[in-house]
């Protein structure tokens, strides 16, 4: 059969968003690929130059619609680096708990979207069902289902409500059982194994050189994690360890490793949350008023000319980084230049090349296993 180019996208079930993958197939085998991005480029970096530092947070929420809290936190750490703010420890704990809840929700969304890619439709509804638990928890903090606008420069918007801790612990305990349920459903299924194992190999050093980060690196056998390598929160005080896989081939990690490492990360997040909610300073059932010194530190609103802020944050899909130059118009009220580094923007072209040589049916399996999110990719 002759070789032909197939254009997958922008509207395609495989893409998990809006982008185009041009695939050159020889029969059922992929011989060449080409990625095309930019279908939802909103120009957030330009808009941010006309907003002050508090107004930028909602845009960072909307950068990645699956893990809004982590992206808002990532920006907030950069802004605190720029404005030289010391954050109270209780606020750090609350940020950690909220970010890990968001990580659970995001990984559940990934697993739910990965099920239809492989063909199991029930997995999607189950994962979304469990995701609702954590959306409710985050809703108690931020007041919205998806975009919370919760962290502030110097702390968080409001304290955890009374009784939040009990609900959190109960739901985490329930969810730890649900993880075993999913593993029983998937790891015991031979079809799931033969679809994921031996597909989409990626070596660790190649991925690092190409800019891939996060769980995809840890799936290749190294426990490199921004949370301990470039520490930014109280992750050194709570009980956890980075999830890491043992790839079974010299060719690196395959889709099954990436699936396993995300399941393991969900376990670690549960462990982290259960430990942090006990260690939180000021007590887990006390509720400080908004703006209290325990949860919100005084922060300047103007950045000096020439000051820069940088944050390196372990987002759910990899290392998300913000670089802010202070001293813009309005005498420093808003950034002169806000630069966003999205992990998926660099990962997607690499993944497109990773598919070469596999079958057409493996394209969604490989693409989905890297967890693409186009909102952060196009900014």
């Amino acid at each position: 059969m002759a070789q032909m180019w197939i254009t997958m996208g922008p509207q395609h079930p495989m893409t998990h968003g809006l982008w185009t993958l041009r695939v050159k197939v020889d029969g059922e085998t992929v011989v060449d690929t080409d990625a095309e991005l930019g279908y939802i480029h909103r120009g957030v970096e330009k808009i941010a130059e006309a907003r002050d530092f508090t107004q930028i947070t909602p845009y960072c929420d909307r950068l990645c619609y699956v893990s809004a809290m982590t992206w808002a936190n990532s920006y907030i750490y950069a802004a605190e680096d720029l404005l030289e703010v010391e954050v109270p420890e209780r606020a750090e704990y609350i940020r950690l708990i909220s970010a890990e809840c968001q990580r659970l929700a995001s990984h559940l969304m990934w697993l739910g979207a990965y099920g239809p890619d492989i063909g199991s439709l029930t997995l999607m509804t189950w994962c979304m069902r469990d995701r609702e638990m954590f959306l409710d928890l985050l809703q108690e903090l931020g007041g919205s289902r998806m975009h919370y606008n919760y962290p502030r420069v110097g702390g968080v918007k409001r304290d955890i409500p009374v009784g939040f801790a009990d609900r959190l612990i109960a739901k985490i305990k329930l969810f730890e059982k649900r993880i075993e349920e999913y593993e029983m459903m998937l790891d015991e299924s031979t079809i799931w194994l033969v679809r994921l194992q031996g597909v989409g190999y990626a070596k660790a050093e190649d991925m690092v050189n190409a800019g891939v980060s996060g769980p995809n690196i840890r799936a290749a056998g190294v426990n490199y994690d921004v949370r301990w390598a470039h520490p930014y929160s109280v992750y050194d005080q709570v009980d956890w360890e980075p999830a890491v896989e043992k790839p079974t081939s010299v060719k690196g990690a395959d889709c099954y490793d990436r699936y396993r490492v995300r399941m393991e990360e969900m376990r670690q997040s549960c462990r982290m949350i259960l430990d942090a909610i006990e260690k939180i300073p000021g007590g887990k059932n006390t509720n400080y008023a908004s703006g209290d010194a325990m949860i919100l530190a005084k922060a300047p609103t103007r950045a000096p000319e020439g000051a820069t802020g940088f944050s390196n944050y372990e987002c759910t899909r990899g290392a998300s980084q913000f670089y802010i130059k202070g001293g813009g118009d309005g005498r420093g009220k808003n950034p002169y230049r806000l630069s966003i580094r999205s992990p998926m923007f660099i990962t997607i072209p690499y993944v497109a090349k990773t598919m070469i040589g596999y079958k057409v049916a493996d394209i969604p399996a490989i693409m989905g296993s890297f967890d693409p999110c186009i909102g952060e990719t196009d900014r």
């Binding site: 059969m1 032909m4 197939i6 997958m8 395609h12 079930p13 495989m14 041009r22 050159k24 197939v25 059922e28 085998t29 011989v31 060449d32 690929t33 080409d34 099920g115 239809p116 890619d117 492989i118 063909g119 199991s120 439709l121 029930t122 509804t125 189950w126 069902r129 459903m185 299924s189 031979t190 079809i191 799931w192 194994l193 033969v194 679809r195 194992q197 031996g198 597909v199 190999y201 990626a202 190649d206 079974t248 081939s249 395959d254 099954y256 690499y350 090349k353 990773t354 598919m355 070469i356 040589g357 596999y358 079958k359 057409v360 049916a361 493996d362 394209i363 969604p364």
Partner: protein
């Protein structure tokens, strides 16, 4: 044993009520000479229509079964669409008194009925209209057969959708292939008896005929995939052709073993054999039953063998370009094929219209309970059995399994199913030649006992079932949890990743 309710005899036999009355009616008219053939034609037409309508409308049940069963598997409630909104409108917005637009006041009774329905079964007063609306609480959320009419609505909607043909498509073949698929699928229903007395036609080689009809639709699928002039549909058509070719052969061998065991190529006679010999075929050939189900799932292209219409990579597979009623017909054809597969499994392995333990319970003399038990119509039994097969096998497999890759499908078909089917043929030969006692066959209520051994009645089916059950249990538990998980299937990589620069080849 024949079913009590003999529609065929009622309509077609020369002294049956219908034909005799027709002949009496025509006597004395110029048509008297040909009265016999005319009555035969009329009776055949009536019979075929009755059987076809029974089969066709009973398939709305499996659509409903699938929809609600899937909802339960996914912790949802499922479709709740009912006919109520015909008279209560949508959220209180109605279409006005549309019946007054009918000419000559024909709509007046419709208006009266509508008023009565609204008075008795209308919406209750709602305190929070939006909340009740979104949570589907109007009329306390109670509906008749919730969701049953959803499929009716889908079908009727497709009727009025615009018909589009892609500009570059080969228009003739694009238009013809759905009709090829649908017509060949409907022909299968002609071969399927609902009971010994209710069938459209019953040729001697009906098994071969049904399977031959099954083999026609793939051609239409490939035509549809090619003529749409779309790369997704083309790949889907090619996948479908390869897959169906690979799975036809094990299917035919399985049915050959059934025919060998029951000594006939006729569906009705094979069902009679299962009762007369005293055991259903599934207890004699569990392997054949499993092979038949697997190959049939592949034949009707459902998960896990739905590569031709894989939503993930091929948008909707080979019917991506079909919209409107063409898509509705293809959708219906797929379900008719599935339904026919359920019927064939019921007839070949589950004893067709025979009741469970018909011989034992049917021969109870106490208070005539056996007679009462035998009064259950065989057609109902056939429908219930095939619905259960659909629910337990097809729906459950579709929504709990994932999708296999094309090369794995073909590898599975050629390397595992084909040898097993050959083995099953030999097993059937051995059973028929050495373990089968023809002299013990009896076509009575109690049934025969042709499968006894050493004087123990029906020892052969018991031992066979236990043997295969043991093998199944061992296969389930033999995996070594502690061993390092070795990768099972490796994909051959033609070029290492990243070595090809796009645009330069």
């Amino acid at each position: 044993m024949d079913d009590k309710y003999d529609l065929v005899g009622f309509m077609l036999s020369r002294d049956g009520v219908l034909r005799s009355s027709l002949i009496d009616l025509l006597s004395g008219t110029p048509l008297e000479d040909s009265a016999s053939s005319i009555s035969f034609a009329v009776a055949t037409f009536a019979l075929v229509n009755v059987v076809f309508l029974m089969l066709f409308f009973s398939q709305f049940a499996i659509l409903w079964i699938e929809r609600k069963a899937v909802a339960r598997m996914q912790d949802r409630y499922g479709a709740t669409t009912a006919l109520r909104s015909l008279w209560v409108g949508e959220n209180g917005v109605t279409a006005g008194e549309w019946w007054n637009m009918l000419p000559f006041g024909l709509g007046t009774p419709i208006g009266a009925v509508n008023k009565w329905l609204n008075k008795n079964f209308g919406n209750r007063d709602e305190n929070f209209p939006t909340v009740d609306r979104v949570n589907n609480r109007s009329w306390m959320g109670k509906t008749i057969l919730p969701g049953f009419f959803q499929n009716v609505a889908d079908g009727m909607k497709f009727l009025v959708k615009e018909h589009m043909v892609p500009q570059r498509a080969d228009r003739l073949i694009f238009e013809v292939s759905p009709f090829l698929i649908v017509s060949s699928t409907l022909l299968i229903l002609g071969m399927i008896p609902l009971s010994s007395g209710i069938y459209a036609t019953n040729p001697d080689l009906s098994i071969l005929y049904a399977i031959a009809i099954f083999g026609i639709a793939p051609i239409g699928v490939f035509f549809a995939g090619w003529s749409s002039n779309n790369k997704y549909t083309l790949i889907g058509g090619i996948r479908s052709a390869a897959q169906l070719t690979a799975y036809e052969i094990p299917l035919l061998l399985t049915l050959l073993s059934v025919a060998i065991l029951s000594g006939t190529f006729n569906i009705v006679e094979s069902i009679h054999f299962q009762h007369s010999a005293g055991a259903w075929n599934i207890f004699l050939m569990p392997l054949a039953a499993a092979l038949f189900l697997i190959t049939m799932i592949a034949e009707v292209e459902r998960v896990p063998f739905d590569m031709p219409e894989a939503e993930a990579e091929l948008v909707e597979g080979w019917w991506t370009e079909y919209g409107g009623m063409r898509f509705g017909m293809l959708f219906m054809a797929e379900y008719i094929r599935t339904y026919a597969a359920c019927f064939l499994f019921t007839h070949f392995f589950l004893g067709g219209w025979h009741l469970p333990f018909q011989g034992t319970i049917g021969s109870i003399e106490f208070l005539g309970l056996g007679g009462l038990y035998l009064l259950i119509p065989g057609a109902i039994m056939t429908l219930v059995k095939s619905w259960l097969v659909f629910l337990i096998v097809f729906v459950w497999a579709r929504f709990s399994l994932a999708r296999i890759r094309t090369d794995q499908i073909l590898e599975f078909g050629w390397r595992m199913l084909l040898p097993l089917a050959v083995l099953q043929v030999f097993l059937a030969l051995v059973y028929r030649l050495y373990l089968f006692k023809p002299e013990n066959m009896a076509d009575t209520v109690a049934g025969g006992n042709a499968w006894d051994a050493f004087g123990i009645p029906s020892l052969v089916p018991i031992l066979t079932t236990l043997f295969w059950l043991a093998i199944f249990v061992i296969y389930l538990n033999d995996e070594d949890k502690s061993a390092t998980p070795e990768r099972m299937f490796h994909v051959h990589t033609v070029e290492p990743a990243g070595t090809v620069v796009p645009g330069q080849e």
